[in-house]
């Protein structure tokens, strides 16, 4: 047992830091520090810089553009980019549909879509949830009926993150209404420009526009856009949802947040002294840090086990807790940050969202604190709510 990083790993970490320092435009970094995470142009710019370096999709197999890094290097890369902080890759492409395509797609699909995902030429969104299919995803009702060389898709998806920017959507659709509910589902790639698709925004409690409803009315999708076999889509979806265990905890993101909280808590005053000297506050912060340290080590146990066994091995049982603790800690950091701002968290900084030219409300760094707190309630809901995660652990790990 040795919990130190090897010399080679340290050198790799330095290489990543140097690359970030030399290549991430300072204005993008500044926006990330200030909490402006949803900027499309920033993500496209950064994705292309990474892709030019060959680092856009490190975890993919080398033949499809991956780096060949072992899981520990992948983790170090991720942590450093999160701590910097750099924009995080669009998960719907590089973490979700990309691996599904290179694992289950045909050669033509791989050749066409994968390079475009790596370069963020195509902005992907995820068409899984429906109004009646959330945690019980398999009861989805959007149907695709075969008509010659096409499927005709009718139905509705919801909670579709950043669909307003999307060029493509990957969808779970029902292709066999008679089969058992998990067995009649297929995995379809749909061009968002196809006639019959309508995107309507859902304004979230933070005032943001991040999620959408997507309506499909007689949308004709070429049959060649089916991934894998018809009616096997549920297997691919399970693969997609279970595939990700390096980034789900988002340890680097939380580390960066905590460093930022510490920084701003030394600028904000409480009782005539910097808030960071307030015992109650600093102990709450330390409690989150302890949880984060434990999570980091749990994450590293999973990464180290992956590195030793190869990614095909069964995941360490500890991996199932990464989503739960990771989301709780992210949420705790957003609440702490709002507390740092105190009354300055109250004004609603509408220019953050609607692009008007009013002078910013001071202090400008306070504007994102409350919206993030509100917005980050999502992380214990999406991707299988924490309650669903507990059901999974109870069944799969504890055998209950």
């Amino acid at each position: 047992m040795d919990l130190r990083y090897s010399k080679e790993e340290q050198a790799f970490r330095d290489e990543v830091r140097t690359f970030l320092a030399e290549n991430l435009p300072e204005d993008i970094r500044r926006r990330m520090i200030d909490g402006d995470y949803g900027n499309k142009d920033d993500l496209v710019t950064w994705s292309r810089i990474l892709n030019a370096k060959g680092w856009a999709v490190p975890h993919w197999p080398k033949e499809y553009g991956g780096t060949g890094w072992d899981p520990m290097r992948q983790y170090i890369f991720l942590e450093e980019t999160q701590k910097w902080p750099a924009p995080q890759p669009l998960p719907f492409g590089v973490n979700m549909v990309g691996p599904v395509i290179y694992t289950f797609g045909n050669e033509a699909q791989k050749a066409h879509y994968l390079p475009r995902i790596a370069n963020l030429d195509d902005w992907w969104c995820q068409g899984f949830s429906e109004p009646g299919a959330g945690s019980d995803l398999a009861s989805l009702r959007t149907r695709a009926v075969r008509d010659g060389d096409h499927y005709v898709v009718n139905g509705q998806k919801t909670w579709t993150t950043l669909a307003q920017y999307a060029d493509w959507i990957f969808c779970l659709v029902r292709t066999d209404a008679q089969a058992k509910k998990q067995e009649g589902i297929s995995f379809l790639l749909i061009d968002m420009k196809t006639p019959g698709i309508e995107v309507r925004p859902i304004v979230t409690i933070d005032g943001g526009r991040e999620i959408n409803e997507v309506f499909f009315t007689d949308v004709r999708v070429p049959a060649e856009n089916l991934v894998g076999e018809e009616n096997r889509g549920w297997d691919y979806a399970k693969f997609l949802l279970g595939n990700e265990r390096t980034n789900i905890a988002r340890v680097g993101v939380s580390k960066q947040r905590i460093a930022r909280i510490r920084e701003l808590a030394s600028l904000e005053f409480s009782g005539g002294r910097p808030l960071i000297e307030d015992e109650r506050f600093r102990e709450k912060l330390a409690a989150v840090e302890i949880e984060l340290k434990a999570l980091e080590l749990t994450q590293l146990r999973v990464v180290a086990a992956d590195a030793r066994r190869g990614k095909t091995g069964r995941p360490d049982p500890a991996s199932s807790i990464l989503k739960i603790k990771g989301s709780e800690i992210q949420q705790a950091t957003t609440h702490l940050m709002m507390q740092v701002m105190g009354p300055h968290a109250l004004p609603y900084h509408s220019h953050d969202f609607d692009g008007t030219n009013e002078p910013p409300i001071e202090p400008d760094y306070a504007g994102s604190a409350a919206p993030h707190y509100f917005n980050y309630r999502k992380v214990s809901i999406y991707g299988g709510s924490n309650e669903i995660q507990k059901n999974i652990i109870a069944k799969a790990v504890l055998g209950l």
């Binding site: 840090e289 590293l300 146990r301 180290a304 507990k390």
Partner: protein
């Protein structure tokens, strides 16, 4: 970075687990606890035969040159069966004071005796008003010729009921809460002026209140600088805490396993109660707490012998706080999910609960370490 055991470490773990499985079932433990001395002299000899007493000492001193990882393995195994022998006060805590504070002559005298199981030690440190502050020392050591005379009372001395010798913190200069002016002395339990009131702790382990009434000791009783002993005490306690974290993980894992088994067999309303989601989620909370605790026990172990006092202290504070919090969550839920059975003395789960509770109350509870970590600036700084 790896979390794997070496082949030798795996062998140690397997052979100790085997020994304890055979000799430390819950009923066997009850019999051991009921005996007057409160632990098994036979098991103590077996540990010595296995080399456990020699583990942390360097080979030059007559030990086996084990690292904190070996200590972690032993303590986790002890935690799984709630072993009662005073291994931790003698070999881990006492051993750390010898390793980090003993000069050549002191180590030459003590290490072989500890290694063969012939000597039991305890660290008489806590006082009536000290709580967990190692610097709060009112017990005095006054110069007497070449030696010293020690006076004072020490409370809740773990393993104090069976110790042959006591390590004692005593003030050689300054006032009650000064960091400087503290010495660490080794005093024979049978020395004139030492009185030991032995008792059982809440968890069944042995302890004592020890009074030193003008006890004469020689110049060779001092470990390290007679005015600079606080750093030694801190270092030894850090090593001790890392080991307690491992023991707690053993206990948490064991009571979690007991609880999950119970949920599968206990039937109410015609079904196994593990079918009920509200109980499943509590069992998952226990699982999460246990795995997070395990991660922190690794962290504490990796830092236990670090020479960097600041880095070591931060890690130990963080680990002890996490394990105190998680141990309580695990213990309280283990009892709750067992219902009435969990309340009974004749069932194991309550004893695990008591042990993790006692671990939390030893050398600083979760709040104590959280406060200390926060005061020193936390764990994560800006890059």
């Amino acid at each position: 970075m790896d979390f794997d055991l070496t082949e030798e470490q795996s062998i140690l773990k397997d052979s100790l687990d085997r020994l304890l499985n055979e000799h430390y079932g819950f009923e066997q433990r009850r019999r051991i606890m009921a005996a007057p001395e409160g632990f098994s002299a036979e098991m103590w000899s077996r540990y010595a035969e296995m080399g456990l007493m020699a583990l942390p000492f360097s080979e030059e001193d007559g030990g086996l040159g084990g690292t904190p990882v070996e200590t972690m393995i032993v303590m986790e195994a002890f935690g799984k069966v709630l072993a009662l022998e005073p291994y931790w006060p003698t070999v881990v805590l006492g051993g750390a004071l010898i390793r980090f504070g003993g000069d050549d002559a002191q180590r030459a005298e003590l290490v072989p005796a500890v290694a063969e199981g012939a000597l039991k030690l305890a660290f008489a440190q806590g006082e009536r008003n000290s709580r967990w502050d190692l610097n709060h020392v009112e017990t005095s050591a006054t110069k007497d010729g070449a030696g010293w005379r020690i006076s004072g009372r020490k409370f809740a001395v773990l393993g104090g009921d069976s110790a042959d010798r006591f390590f004692v913190t005593a003030r050689t200069a300054g006032s009650a809460r000064d960091d400087g002016g503290i010495g660490v002395f080794l005093v024979d339990a049978k020395a004139k002026g030492v009185s030991v009131r032995g008792y059982r702790m809440q968890d069944g382990q042995g302890g004592a209140e020890v009074t030193f009434d003008n006890v004469p000791v020689g110049a060779d009783a001092v470990f390290g600088d007679p005015e600079g002993g606080l750093a030694l005490a801190r270092r030894a306690v850090d090593a001790g805490i890392a080991a307690l974290c491992a023991e707690a993980v053993g206990a948490m894992g064991a009571m979690h396993a007991l609880t999950v088994d119970y949920l599968k067999v206990r039937k109410q309303f015609g079904v196994a109660i593990g079918q009920f989601q509200v109980l499943q989620h509590k069992a998952v909370d226990m699982f999460v707490a246990t795995e997070q605790a395990r991660s922190m026990a690794f962290y504490a172990t990796s830092m236990a012998d670090s020479d960097d006092a600041a880095e070591r202290a931060a890690a130990i504070h963080a680990a002890k706080a996490e394990i105190g919090r998680g141990g309580r969550l695990c213990g309280e839920n283990a009892v709750q999910l067992h219902g009435g059975v969990g309340m009974t003395d004749e069932y194991a789960v309550g004893h695990y609960f008591k042990r993790v509770t006692a671990i939390d109350m030893t050398f600083g509870d979760a709040d104590h370490h959280l406060r200390a970590l926060a005061a020193r600036g936390g764990l994560f700084q800006a890059a």
